[in-house]
Amino acid sequence: MNTRMTRQIVVIGGGPAGLAAAAAAKKNGAEDVLILERDRVLGGILNQCIHNGFGLHTFQEELTGPEYAARFIRIVEEQQIPYLLSTIVVDLARLENGRIAVSVMNRSEGLFVIEAEAVILAMGCRERPRGALNIPGYRPAGIFTAGTAQRFVNIEGKMPGREVVILGSGDIGLIMARRMTLEGAKVKVVAELMPYSGGLKRNIVQCLNDYGIPLKLSHTVVDIKGKDRVEAVTIAEVGPDRRPIPGTEEEYTCDTLLLSCGLIPENELTGKLGADLSPVTSGPVVNESLETSIPGVYACGNVLHVHDLVDYVSEEASEAGARAAEYVSGKDCAAGEPCAIRAVDGVRYTVPAVLRIGKMRERQVIRFRVGEVFRDAEVVIELDGKSYRSVRKKIMAPGEMEQVILPKKDLEEIKPSVITIRIRTNM
């Protein structure tokens, strides 16, 4: 590998997270930022999300996915941040000098290594495929993840099915139920293994209810028929143990099964680097600066944890970009002792998972998801086991991200060594 270049900050991924991170890094003083994107265009998965509903928080208006992406692409272009397209990162390694060797491959330059002072991970996530769901039956054509079907319809201009059953009520599945219906396909049913939907409430209303598409909670696919192309799918109710209940099977004639059964952060590179990964989120463990366990390596967006709204991705990524810019500027303030955040009693995880009080912003955002539906419950924050603050919520659901804000001055005063976040129900 002859080619070598050095960069202050390399951003891996040119989707919403990478774009916002790069823009923020530059804005905060990093001169030398490079975005690496594996696709042929910037914008990531937003390019195929042609429905509206993006940007309500960020821009106070309703944009489509490509419009939302275009706003950030424009900022990146205006800031003259360079980017490489159709470029894949094949390896990440920490060098003895503390820098990160980013091994890269593309058509025009071949194989080369970039030595970066800081790296921002923004690779996004992938969809859980059929195989990982252990759905028995034949393996015909016509089984797609919802995102693949979305790409066929919205980008390739092709119909992947006419009579559709959807398993999983994640947001992409709900959006695709509507899209396929608008394209003239018949969506027969959406089955969801859990007793609640994994998607946003607004999507259930706007994508299923408005079109009369039934949502069957506590149901799953137990058989797929069709040797060449899908011919039928059998759905059964599941009990509290999530196993199918014999005798509840219903067969749906269809040619297509779409899967929207969860997203998995794509952290193969993060793993190669040796950064600590969370078994709950499958993303890296980060501190208040969105820095992984490897100094100078930051993470944001869906590679860190799966988000519900892209607005939060942009917000988080801007913070990661700003933090990376501070890191490369060398203006480091004292970090202080790390304080772990424990997620318990219905709180599945928190991002960040560690706080160094000296490095906190004045108002530190802690994002989390709950493990089940809670009504009229309280989010309780404890510092070293003592109740510090609680917030009452009318409803919390696994499909939506929650957040609490911790003021730096309080923590500086109390200097806790453990922060606990839990859900308290009235039961």
């Binding site: 495929p129 990982a132 028995p136 393996r139 693949t148 092709k158 003239g184 137990v222 060449d228």
Partner: protein
Amino acid sequence: MVDVLIIGAGVTGAAIARELARDERTILVVEKELDVCEGTSKANSGIAHAGFDAKPGTLKAQMNVRGSRMMEQLSKELDFPYRKNGSLVLAFHEEDLKTLEELLERGRRNGVEDLRIITAEEVRALEPNVSEQVCGALYAPTGAIIDPFLMNVAFAENAFVNGADFLFGAKVSHITRNQETGSYTVRIRTVKGARKEHYGQNAAALPAELTIEARTVVNAAGVYADEIHNLVSARKIHITPRRGQYLLMDKAAGGFVSATVFQCPTAMGKGVLVTPTVHGNLLVGPDSENIEEKEGTNTTAASLSYVLSRAGLTADRLPARQVITSFAGLRAHGDVGDFLLEEAEDAPDFYDAACIESPGLTSAPAIGEYMAQLIREKHPAPARPHFDGTRRGTPCVSMASLEERQKLIEQDPAYANVVCRCELVTEGEIVDAITRPLGARTLDGIKRRVRAGMGRCQAGFCMPRQMELLEEQTGLAPEEIVKSGADAFILFGESGKGVSV
């Protein structure tokens, strides 16, 4: 008139075709599917068995040991992945230890080299992840793992460039023997996308029906070999599809075991094994179930959970959460108790290579040799003048060293353009899989040749891009592209037409 017509382009048929291609004779391989390796050959354990399991004196034993010995050299000549990782058969109690002694004795009689019984401590030193319950094991250092797809592809390609023709999408419906000339008239029905491949020419479409005259017919029709045999012979045979289901795990779990780890065999087969694959995944399976349906390659919840629980006996910390796909294969279990490798008694010049269940994959090179020899003895032919028994496979960028990668990219920058991100498969590799002799015409064909879409996302991201390359290289329309079977189409025409009334 062709000299030899081989029915079936699975690993057995392809191996026979390659051996016969050493002599100057016309060969036609007739395959009902649209690609090679579409039946049992694509859904098995991918093991080159050492040969201690088969009963001494059987063809199974003979072919297994010979095949196992040929495999390493052959993998170099034909450039398919092979790794001698060794096999272990675990014993969990006293009774099993007795079985190990029997297997050891059987293996020695079959001529398996370096077999020995090792202690529980030795087992754990070799395989730290096996169960605490293990009290000993049979160790076969000559056991190996291979890429079953590429071995099949390699045999077929090599036969092809040495003159064998192939028909795809061509199902044999009738065979009649001409009593005067002694030759066979083979009637064939074709499916959508059926084609004839002749080396050096573009593929030619086939009519809905055609008839071919053949001097000699070889039956390598897998689970359908009984139906083919029974078309010409009054001495009927019966093949029971014996289904085995598997789970494949992510490469993150590939290092869980290094050897192929068996449990003691039963009447129904070698039992559930846990093995790395040549590409670094972890594979567990199969179970064993007699079924009726010759296309019954569906998996079932009961069998998949049985396989996981049985594999859990081998290793209790099995990373079951890492499953990326599951599949089922059908062993062609014959009622004759052994491989059927002979000229049919009442049908001269009709040869069976039938009832090829395990260890069929390992035996394929030896069966190829054996069958070719049977035919050669009856119908000698001069050696083919420019026979070349070597083949260069598609380069594998993900396994290549940095220097090799650099060199490939210098030759063709398409080797730097990654299409399948999970398995790191490049445009260069996919284009080669399509354009090489007897290249892929289906998405599964690409997957089996270069692993695009075989990783953890299972083609979620790269399927549209693979289809684009298939269109560019073959001229197929998007709607004509299939996953594997003739009706396994992916798309229904254009979107953007709105709701139809």
